[in-house]
Assembly symmetry: C2
Homo-oligomer: 160 residues x 2
Amino acid sequence: MLKPHMQKEEKQITDSRILNEILKTGKYAHISLCDENVPYIITLSYGYDVSTNCLYFHTAKKGYKLEFIKNNPQACGTVVEDLGYQSGKCDHHYRSVVFWGEINIIKPMKEQKYAFDILLNHLDENPKKSKSRFLNTKSKYENTCILKFEIEEITGKGSE
Amino acid sequence: MLKPHMQKEEKQITDSRILNEILKTGKYAHISLCDENVPYIITLSYGYDVSTNCLYFHTAKKGYKLEFIKNNPQACGTVVEDLGYQSGKCDHHYRSVVFWGEINIIKPMKEQKYAFDILLNHLDENPKKSKSRFLNTKSKYENTCILKFEIEEITGKGSE
């Protein structure tokens, strides 16, 4: 896939530790999908799995986004660290990543459980307590849909 | 264009005053674009023009996003008010809008000036000062590109 040419090199972030840090710190991602050249955007809480370079999301089992994903799994996402608008300077400070890859629904129970572990460890201050509270029955897994975004390419930029 | 069916009705925001408020309060939008079924996402500061229901953006005169826009002006954007992750509750509070329409480059100087007014009035605490500082020569307009997103449809949802 053709990747964007960064117009302002001084803004580019290439250090993989910083790119990882942005993904580890973020709580939600915006994902661009398209079907028959019609674009769609979704915003979802995520868990970042550093070991496999994937993001996991949980969502309802039905919906518009699932139709898009089934028809075209190609996706482009972003996570933005908002460092605030700089009033009087015509500037907004931020750090962000943009990433490309495929997003797919995962179905095996074993992988769903793994994904929930990643999600709650990423999002929650007390994941152990939340796991025992929210994932205490098999039906909790059956009533939700897990999405996996496999990151193939990533770029970063920042202004601060 | 087919619009998403809201899965959880209690989350839906239909009051146009609230939808307007989210657009008026936000500082930047995430925009989904696509070209030949390849998705792309951009994040841009914006100015919201209530009278015409348009968003204006300024950007560099060259770049990947402009190629997408020239090839396919259909766009889908979102503005999210982040009200914080609710630790221990497996929930993130927010209010957001998703909107569809066309995004195009605007070229007439008169409309560019109008767009800059909207942008600085929206973003800046002291727009008059910023205008005299940043828009004091004709070349400031010539060296930038103005994008206009004409909103055709909008939906909102929230969890708080």
